[in-house]
C-alpha cells in the first residue's frame, strides 16, 4: 500500500537481457471507482444546479463540478457553438424529433439547402438584420465528433417534416389581415411579430404581400431543446415555397419576426438542452435609417400588457428616440362572425367559421393546402375587429396613416395594446453591461471535459453511449 505522497506506479517486473528489455508497472492504489456511480453523482449535482434556477435560468452551471477523481469536470459552453461543432443533436444523437401537425403535401427536401436564401429579406438594407441561424441548420455538417460520444449524427434535413397546424392556419389569416391594412400605407411602421415560432412564421407568410420579412431565429433545434425550434423550422419548411416566390413591394415596411419561446423556462439541466436565444432588433439609429417612425408589436393575446424581457431596453430606446411603440394582439384580427368560409375541404364545402376566440380553442374552420403547395387556400378575409366595418378603424387606434375608407365604428373587443408604451424596468437582460449581452448561463449547455487533456467528451445530458456503452472492441 502506498501513501498519498508516494509515486503511484510501482515496477513489479523488469528484464534487461540481450533478447528482450522490458518492464511492467502497477498502480495498486488506483481507486475502486465506479464510473456509473460517479456519473450519477455528476447528474445529481447538475440537477441540484437546476433547482437553483432564477428567472434568467441556471447560472454558471458546474464550473466547479468535478468528478471524485478529478478525471472530468463539467463546464458550461455556448449551446449553439457546441451544436455547430458536434451536430444539432449534440448529446442526443439517438433521440428523435417529434413534429405536431405534419403536412402531407408534396415536399422537396432538397430545397432545404436553399432555405436561408429563400427566407431572406428582399431588401439589401434589411438583410443586415436577418438572422438565418435556424435556417442554416438543416444542411449543417458537424465539424468534429465528441471524443466520448461518437454517435452518428443524422443530418437535420433528413429528420425534418414540414408542419401546418391549426394555430398556423389562424396566424396566417391574421397576418394576411394585417397586411391588407398596409396596402400602400404605413410605410413608416416597423412591425415586430412576437408569437410562438410556428405561428410567427405563418403570420409572416400571411403578411408577406405587404412587408419585407426579417426572421431573427438565432438557435438550432435539439431533441431536448427547451425551445421547440424544430417546430419553427418545420413551419418555415412548409411556407418556404411561398417565401421563395415572394417579392416585397418597393419600400415595403419591415417586419421583424421573433420566436416567443426564445425565453422559455429552463429548469432541468440534466434533461433539457438550453437552446434559448435573445431577440436581435436594430438599434434606434438603425431603425430610423430604415424609415421607421413607429413600431407595432404583435403579441398572441390582448392580455399581454408588456413586452418580453429581452425587448425592454430596445423598446424603451425606441420610445425615447421618438419612435412610438404600440402593441396589438394577433387575436384582434378575426373573421366576420356570420360570414361563411369558402373552403374546398373534402366533402364539406362552405364550412362556417367561428369567431376568433372560439377558433383559438381549436374549433375554427379547417383549411386545405393550395394545390401544389403554398399557403392555405381560403377566400375568406379576416379583419381588424372581426368586421369589415371595423377593419380600417385600425388606423384610428394606431393613427399612423390615413385609410381610404375610414372605419365605420370601433371594434367591440378590448385593446389595451393601443395605449401601450414601453417603460424601463429591471429584467435579467437589463443588468448586462453591453446591449444584447446574456445573463450568466443563458443559452449554455454543460459539457463533460477530460481534465488531463482538455478535450470535450460530450454533453452532460448525453445518454447515447458516452457513459453506457455496451461491451465491444476493436483491434488490428
Amino acid at each position: 500500500m502506498t501513501s498519498t505522497t508516494d509515486p503511484p506506479f510501482q515496477r513489479d517486473a523488469f528484464l534487461d537481457k540481450p533478447g528482450i528489455v522490458g518492464a511492467r508497472w502497477w498502480q495498486d492504489g488506483l481507486a475502486q471507482s465506479d464510473p456509473i456511480a460517479r456519473r450519477r453523482a455528476l447528474m445529481a449535482l447538475l440537477i441540484v444546479g437546476g433547482a437553483a434556477v432564477g428567472i434568467g435560468g441556471i447560472v454558471a452551471i458546474g464550473s466547479a463540478v468535478s468528478s471524485s477523481d478529478s478525471d472530468t469536470k463539467s463546464e458550461p459552453r455556448p449551446s449553439l457553438e457546441m451544436q455547430k461543432q458536434y451536430g444539432w443533436n449534440f448529446g442526443a444523437t439517438t433521440e428523435v424529433l417529434t413534429f405536431d401537425g405534419v403536412s402531407t403535401r408534396a415536399f422537396d427536401r432538397t430545397a432545404l439547402a436553399r432555405m436561408s436564401d429563400d427566407l431572406a429579406p428582399k431588401s439589401a438594407t434589411l438583410r443586415r438584420y436577418y438572422v438565418p441561424t435556424l435556417f442554416q441548420s438543416p444542411t449543417a455538417i458537424p465539424l468534429a465528433v465528441p471524443e466520448g460520444d461518437p454517435g452518428t449524427v443524422q443530418p437535420l434535413k433528413d429528420a425534418l417534416s414540414p408542419i401546418f397546424t391549426q394555430a398556423m392556419d389562424l396566424a396566417y389569416r391574421r397576418g394576411k389581415a394585417l397586411a391588407s391594412l398596409f396596402d400602400g400605407r404605413g410605410g413608416d411602421v416597423a412591425v415586430v411579430v412576437d408569437l410562438a415560432g410556428p405561428e410567427a412564421v405563418a403570420f409572416a407568410a400571411g403578411a408577406a404581400g405587404a412587408f419585407d420579412i426579417a426572421f431573427t431565429f438565432d438557435n438550432w433545434p435539439h431533441p431536448r431543446g427547451v425551445v421547440a425550434a424544430h417546430q419553427t423550422l418545420a413551419a418555415a419548411a412548409y411556407f418556404q415555397p411561398l417565401f421563395a416566390r415572394h417579392y416585397a413591394p418597393a419600400n415595403a415596411p419591415p417586419m421583424f419576426v421573433l420566436d416567443r419561446q426564445r425565453l422559455a423556462p429552463y429548469t432541468d439541466a440534466a434533461n433539457q438542452f438550453d437552446n434559448r436565444h435573445i431577440a436581435r432588433l436594430p438599434a434606434i439609429a438603425d431603425l430610423r435609417a430604415l424609415g421607421a417612425k413607429h413600431v407595432l408589436y404583435v403579441t398572441p393575446l390582448d392580455s399581454e400588457t408588456t413586452e418580453l424581457d429581452d425587448l425592454n431596453e430596445s423598446f424603451v430606446a425606441y420610445d425615447r428616440g421618438a419612435v412610438s411603440v404600440r402593441m396589438v394582439a394577433a387575436t384582434a384580427f378575426g373573421p366576420e362572425p356570420l360570414m361563411p368560409v369558402l373552403l374546398p375541404s373534402p366533402g364539406a364545402a362552405g364550412t362556417k367559421a367561428d369567431a376568433g376566440t372560439k377558433a383559438d380553442a381549436g374549433t375554427g374552420a379547417t383549411s386545405a393546402s393550395m394545390p401544389g403547395g403554398g399557403p392555405p387556400f381560403d377566400l375568406t378575409p379576416w379583419f381588424y375587429g372581426s368586421s369589415t366595418e371595423t377593419h380600417d378603424w385600425f388606423w384610428t387606434d394606431y393613427p399612423w396613416a390615413t385609410p381610404v375608407h375610414p372605419g365605420k365604428h370601433a371594434p367591440t373587443m378590448s385593446n389595451a395594446g393601443k395605449s401601450y408604451q414601453p417603460r424601463p424596468r429591471s429584467t435579467p437582460f437589463s443588468a448586462a453591461a453591453a446591449p444584447g449581452a446574456r445573463p450568466p448561463g443563458f443559452g449554455m449547455t454543460p459539457v463533460i471535459i477530460a481534465v488531463g487533456t482538455g478535450i470535450i467528451l460530450g454533453a452532460a445530458i448525453s445518454r447515447s453511449g458516452s457513459w453506457n456503452r455496451s461491451s465491444g472492441g476493436w483491434g488490428g
Partner: protein
C-alpha cells in the same frame, strides 16, 4: 472496477539507434513512477516511433472494453515479456554480412485501463476504426499520436518491452514466421 485494454505491437527492420533509444527509456524509467513520469515515458516512445511508421512491416493492436477479456489479454501481453516468449534464446548475428539477411525488432506496449473513465472513453474513441482499416499503417500512426490521451490516474497497469535488448539478438524472418508471432499481421498502406 471493470477494465478495458489498449495494446499495440509493431515490428520493423532493426534500427540500432531506435532500439537503443527505446531501451534507454525503459531501463531508466523510475521504479516508482508518477503519472507525469508515465505519460512522459509513452509520449517519448511514441515520439520516437512516429517517424518510423512508414517502416512498420507487421503489427497488432487491440482495444477491448470487456472486463474479462481486458484482464486476460493484459496478462497475455505481460507474459510476452516475463516468459521471454518472443525473445531469441541465442544471438542471430548482426544484420548485413554475407547473406544480408534482415534483422527485425518489435516494440510492445499495453495498458490496463479503468473502464468508462474519461481516459478510457477518449482511447475508445481513438480506437473506433472501421474494420477495413484495422491493418493500415496510418491507423497505427493515429493510435501513437493519440497516446497523449492517456491519463495515468485511470491506468491500473502498463507494460512496455522491446525485442531485442542487444543488436546482435535481432529477430530473423524465420523467427517471425513462427507460430508465436502469427498475431503480427502484415501492414497495409
Amino acid at each position: 472496477m471493470r477494465h478495458s485494454i489498449l495494446a499495440m505491437e509493431v515490428c520493423m527492420r532493426l534500427d540500432p539507434s531506435l532500439r537503443a533509444s527505446l531501451r534507454e527509456r525503459i531501463v531508466t524509467h523510475p521504479l516508482a513512477a508518477s503519472y507525469q513520469d508515465k505519460w512522459n515515458l509513452y509520449m517519448g516512445a511514441a515520439g520516437e516511433l512516429l517517424p518510423h511508421v512508414g517502416r512498420f512491416e507487421r503489427g497488432c493492436w487491440d482495444y477491448f472494453n470487456d472486463d474479462a477479456r481486458a484482464q486476460k489479454d493484459f496478462k497475455m501481453w505481460c507474459d510476452g515479456m516475463t516468459t521471454e516468449e518472443g525473445a531469441r534464446v541465442a544471438p542471430s548475428g548482426q544484420a548485413g554480412g554475407y547473406r544480408d539477411e534482415p534483422r527485425y525488432m518489435t516494440f510492445t506496449m499495453a495498458f490496463l485501463l479503468a473502464q468508462d473513465t474519461p481516459c478510457d472513453l477518449a482511447i475508445r474513441a481513438l480506437c473506433n476504426v472501421p474494420q477495413t482499416a484495422l491493418w493500415r499503417r496510418d491507423v497505427f500512426q493515429r493510435i501513437l499520436q493519440g497516446i497523449g490521451y492517456l491519463n495515468f490516474a485511470s491506468v491500473k497497469g502498463d507494460v512496455i518491452y522491446v525485442i531485442p535488448g542487444d543488436d546482435a539478438w535481432g529477430l530473423t524472418v524465420e523467427d517471425l514466421t513462427a507460430k508465436k508471432f502469427e498475431y503480427l499481421r502484415l501492414l497495409e498502406g
